[in-house]
Subunit: 343 residues, 2 copies
């Protein structure tokens, strides 16, 4: 296929604080040729995810850092152009969690799964029926363990994971309070997802203080917070922690407020809240649940087809806009799952 | 029994910072008379516990605060002088967790248990075979879940709970590192309890920095920390948290470094360590395990009689010294369980 031009996005330099377009480099590259057991994929949709910021930093995390000069990899949905694996056929829609930011790529069969376009739009394989949906499902059900009537607070509530967590908690009969930034997001949470209450953490010029957040939360959580699903960290979490109730479960899913911090993150130590409430706080990474993905996807698909689960996607067009879409995550530009449509 | 004089210790005022003798008031009181279902107890040994500091403060905790003017209650061992319950006989040694700081008191039968003086000295009912032992056992086994070969770090390692945790972790085949203050304590941990390593957090003039503690810990925890059993909080915990390993469990049992703080406790937020390590942190209070105390005591007694478990007690004599013994807890004056011998 010599007429097709291939391009890729590399990490040009490690971001300091908020990433900038200069941290990314577009380069032309060869069209890859699949070997036995591999398929050639045309990238259709690229997922940009907050956790990628961690991989752009040096040092220990749950996943090794990108090297400078390396092609970024993330979740993506594509179409099989050529298959040298019996598991896939030309034309299949496929999804992978670690595909390169590249117009065309090869992947070994074990790195991708088929997407069923009859079930839902294929973009959902990057959102509600993909890693964010599974993250919401297992984090909430397995660590949060919401019980009917309990109060569940979700930070980053209008994001890809947050919107799913809020709805699953509602399906489990909980009172759900979503924390998000801006009127559009809180309106969506309240009106479209029917949350019991929302907190807009933003002010005209910045962010509400811990005291303000705590007061607003306190007013809508008269019995305290039984489950806190945290996507954000920082002062928002400081405020929620002050309100946890006996036996509370705090799920540490993400800490987007910190990912661009290049200084120590200082705040009130939270051990006393955990001690006096016999409460649990647990971090997790979704790949730990890999052997239960089937179970999770089945439940999520069921809720989706029954109309019990909604999802939001913010789709930007153009491969050249992948870095900006990624950067936008940290400015809260996305409602629901942020995706870049490549083709 | 009109010849016997009764005395009690009341909370005279709420401590600000470190408690002082002036926060306590000794008053003469009447000899109580047991009613049906109650027993009259002569107090022999009183347990002073760090957690009592929390009850001297106003505000929400896992147990209501003492009122100013109220008689302090804590664990105590006594002798039954008169019984109006079929469950107890004159001469029985008994223990209760909520007995008054008082020379003679009455308790309803449900508030006390018999102590078997043949099994071990009766003081152990306040230590290794009492709340501290049970706290160590359930906190470590149920939340810490130590696996053979794992590295377990214990802060407040030379205290009543800490000494038990260290030994149980050793019995489970773990590498155990104890953090304590002063050469006498670290020597005891190393030589008497055979820990793999100890960290003395004190310097000649104060306390080692987080950086120093982290470096010393790092040297003795080359594979990181799988279980951290925390009795202390503050900067010691900051240092340990930086070294937790994948899937670590952090047991928040006590926070003695904070109990006298009357300002917010600020430090590095620990959520990132929990997130990147898929780690768990859980606070607990031993009364949650009340229905399993029998199981715990049986195991602890077995280890004790087999000589697998040692215990240390620091016994001060004289009812008048109860407040000082309590205050001494926050100065690290005790090795093992701090007890006051009353009679």
């Amino acid at each position: 296929m010599p007429h097709m031009k291939n391009r890729q996005i590399r990490l040009a330099s490690r971001p300091t604080g908020m990433p900038t377009p200069e941290n990314f480099e577009f380069t032309d590259c060869e069209m890859p040729v699949p070997r036995e057991g591999e398929v050639l994929i045309r990238t259709l949709y690229i997922s940009v995810d907050p956790y990628l910021r961690g991989r752009m930093r040096e040092g220990r995390s749950y996943i090794p850092p990108f090297a400078v000069g390396q092609v970024i990899v993330s979740g993506a949905v594509g179409e099989v152009l050529e298959s040298r694996s019996p598991a896939f056929q030309t034309g299949d829609a496929v999804v992978g969690g670690l595909l390169p930011w590249q117009l065309y790529s090869v992947a070994s069969a074990g790195m991708i799964q088929k997407v069923n376009p009859e079930l839902a739009p294929i973009t959902t394989a990057l959102g509600i029926l993909g890693m964010p949906g599974l993250t919401a499902y297992f984090g909430l059900m397995d660590i949060g363990r919401p019980q009917k009537g309990e109060t569940v607070v979700v930070s980053g509530a209008a994001g890809a994971v947050g919107t799913a967590v809020c709805q699953i908690a509602r399906l489990k009969g909980c009172r759900v309070i979503g924390i998000a930034g801006g009127a559009e997001k809180t309106r969506y949470l309240k009106e479209e997802l029917s949350l019991d209450a929302t907190i807009d953490y933003k002010t005209a010029t910045g962010q509400k203080s811990v005291t303000e957040l705590r007061e607003e939360l306190s007013a809508v959580c008269p019995n305290g917070v039984s489950v806190y699903f945290d996507n954000v960290g920082g002062e928002i979490s400081d405020a929620v922690m002050m309100l946890i109730s006996q036996g509370a479960r705090v799920v540490i899913c993400g800490l987007i407020s910190l990912y661009n911090l290049d200084k120590p993150d200082i705040g009130p130590r939270i051990q006393p809240y955990l001690l006096v409430n016999s409460a649990l706080m647990q971090g997790f990474i979704i790949t730990r649940y890999a052997n239960r993905f089937g179970e999770g996807l089945q439940q999520l698909s069921e809720w989706l087809t029954e109309g019990k689960l909604k999802y939001a996607e913010t789709i930007v067009e153009g491969f050249e806009n992948v870095p900006q879409a990624f950067i936008g995550l940290f400015k809260g530009e996305n409602l629901g799952k942020q995706i870049v449509k490549v083709a």
